[in-house]
Symmetry: C2
Subunit: 477 residues, 2 copies
Amino acid sequence: MAKEKDQFVNQIADIETDFPRWYTDVVIKTKLVDYGPVKGTMVIRPYGYAIWENIQHELDKRFKATGHQNAYFPLLIPYSFMTREAEHVEGFAPEVAVVTVGGGETLAEPLVIRPTSETVFGEMYSKWLQSYRDLPILINQWANVVRWEKTTRPFLRTSEFLWQEGHTAHATEEEAMEETMKMLGVYKEFAETCLAIPVFTGRKTEKEKFAGAVATFGMEAMMHDGKSLQAGTSHYLGQNFAKAFNIQFLDKDGTHKYAYTSSWGVSTRLIGALIMSHGDARGLILPPVVAPVQAILVPIAAKKEGVLDAVAALKSKLVAAGIRAESDLTDNSPGWKFNEWEMKGVPLRIELGPRDIEAGKMVLVRRDTHEKVEAPLENAAETVQKLLAEIQSDLLETAKKRKEARVVTAESVEELLKGVEGGNFVKAGWCGCRECEDKIKEQTAASARVIVEDEHAEKCACCGRPAKHVVLFARAY
Amino acid sequence: MAKEKDQFVNQIADIETDFPRWYTDVVIKTKLVDYGPVKGTMVIRPYGYAIWENIQHELDKRFKATGHQNAYFPLLIPYSFMTREAEHVEGFAPEVAVVTVGGGETLAEPLVIRPTSETVFGEMYSKWLQSYRDLPILINQWANVVRWEKTTRPFLRTSEFLWQEGHTAHATEEEAMEETMKMLGVYKEFAETCLAIPVFTGRKTEKEKFAGAVATFGMEAMMHDGKSLQAGTSHYLGQNFAKAFNIQFLDKDGTHKYAYTSSWGVSTRLIGALIMSHGDARGLILPPVVAPVQAILVPIAAKKEGVLDAVAALKSKLVAAGIRAESDLTDNSPGWKFNEWEMKGVPLRIELGPRDIEAGKMVLVRRDTHEKVEAPLENAAETVQKLLAEIQSDLLETAKKRKEARVVTAESVEELLKGVEGGNFVKAGWCGCRECEDKIKEQTAASARVIVEDEHAEKCACCGRPAKHVVLFARAY
């Protein structure tokens, strides 16, 4: 068994010394994902897609509970739409895929595959919106988007990815801003509750904001290596797109006004966040709420009379209680199975052998702590549910501790560099000018992740002039 | 109120004399769908998308119960993939959208937006499949596809549509064929149980089969006007794609063999089938299982004390019981609301006014029969659930009766023409040759929908030679 364990662990690079390789090894070997035939694309395999389905399920519930409805808008957008909002086209034009031929003929106007859908939502909202009574419009869509990327990595940055994009229109600035912040809050609560990932939230700098937004708010998660991953964004778009697409309504006072809009999205990147947040030397560790398999049953001495029956009975009991339980009935040895399911990050392993069955008990092994406990088969579902809930909350606690322990402050670019090289997020004063932001990036490879609210610094860590904001800097994915 | 009703009914064309206009009027005015900015594309609005979500929910359950897993494969396919299967490229090349520019540069190889994904699944399966132990591979994906169409109609034929496509690989011909037929059966059961649409199923002729398949099996539904709509297909692909993409496995006997594959799909077309199957002069009639709103509560004399409270209480009770109930609290008159929700096809209307509340009852009006009954407020959820189940099964019965009443037989092309002109499906003998099939299409505008099993005819209705099959002919969407 020791040998088998080594075989498995040796399949993946060392997490501490070669995290990027570890990541690639883990996503491929656990069959979460594979490379698609077109460079930069990915195939999300059933094990990875099941995580996405669980994420969708949890988020969709929250979107609907906050009054949003789903819809579906077209994939193809006239190229001219992109150019109507000046910042938007500047940001997205360089990375679009362009359709020039359809049905065997060259198209009169080239079409872009949506990199994001503010423009086509804008066009339709301008058609649908008549009166203040039609507001707010609160629509979300689950869709694929394409952004031509030079350097790609599965889940983190791919030419095509899956996401949701909410697009809303409101009568006033206040309401649109309230929506923007509400959805940022939904994302944060979801990340903590479901993904067990604590996040920093806050406003982005001008440099880092969405092309076409008045303000972008992001949530940033700390990965195992101390780098940051932007896990979701919520944009206050002001009247930028309303003016570009003529989204107007007749207000109570009898005048026509432009609406205020917002947009917000998270993507299959969240799967990358999960992997890099909780994984360890042995592979994935998946939080129970989104794990495709929450408990894996491994029969011990499977050929002995009664073992397979007992495993089947226990599995049925767990499944009936709503637990995503599976049993591994392959010919592999128990040791092989332990290692395989550990690598796949299943939160809980349940071993059941002749002696356990005789004693009316089962052996439970936690993936996160490797803790092994025995428990009676009676009330098994309740025991498992309780343990899964514990694992979920412990994962969040562990991640929270790392998040808190790894934030340092800096008063100079040198200190900032030292901080990020030590695998930290670094808080530093910033004068607010683009030059300093660029210089910090250049010298430390760290970027401004979010502006920290309610904190103050005296001086800009870069130029020494009075600081306007405290900014959270980190190297980022 | 009579005037209001006229206003509503006048908004839509007469269903008997101008069914195509009726269809367009209904889908647009009930806000199921709108035209997208790119010709031939559609925006599926929240009311339409909610139907799709219900369809997805019901189908997805069935796919998983039959052992399938979901995954996601890339949108963009190298053009060269299309050409590997000779029939496939012939069928699909004329209608693909082609990406020639990505990230500002002309691509070395043009990419097609998937019109269907046999090729990219084939490529990945050839990579993943090693041994007979890996079989069967049973994967489905929910995705968008693009087919460049000249004449388009919302839901029925659009340049982009949403669908699911199952792709499976098996060790033997028998298993692949069994899968093909099993999924056709799943579709048929789903169509009858959830959509209340009875269907004809059977094998397609060579002319009508999927480009690249050995055999295609389809399900055909009869629409209000007697035309047929192909509502789903299941393809037995033999080793065609396995050979084109080298999908091989090491079998138990130690030799490498090509796998046998199948594929099967249904799309947002099903929403078109729903509309044209059940709708009437007043608009949509939606079967409760897939209706976004199953019961609409309309307060009568809403300003009278206690009415709104009673409506809210009843709504909560129904929602708690799992019924998709909503209340219309707008300023519109009750009559206006009745007509609007009738047009939107909500299966059940519940009226609640001061006198009803005093008497402890509610008024229930069925959308399909306009039948009006009173029922006690006590056990309201149970009453409503029972009535919804009744509506569901009555809709199926009504559709079944039409389906059975409108099938005639023909022994000549003239009879066939008369049959389809009378709004019927026509069974006729066929010699099996393409020339007769083409001639029948040319002279009657009817095509071979499916080959009827276990029925025999003496002569081909077209050429008079001995008949090989009985074929169900109809004009089709």
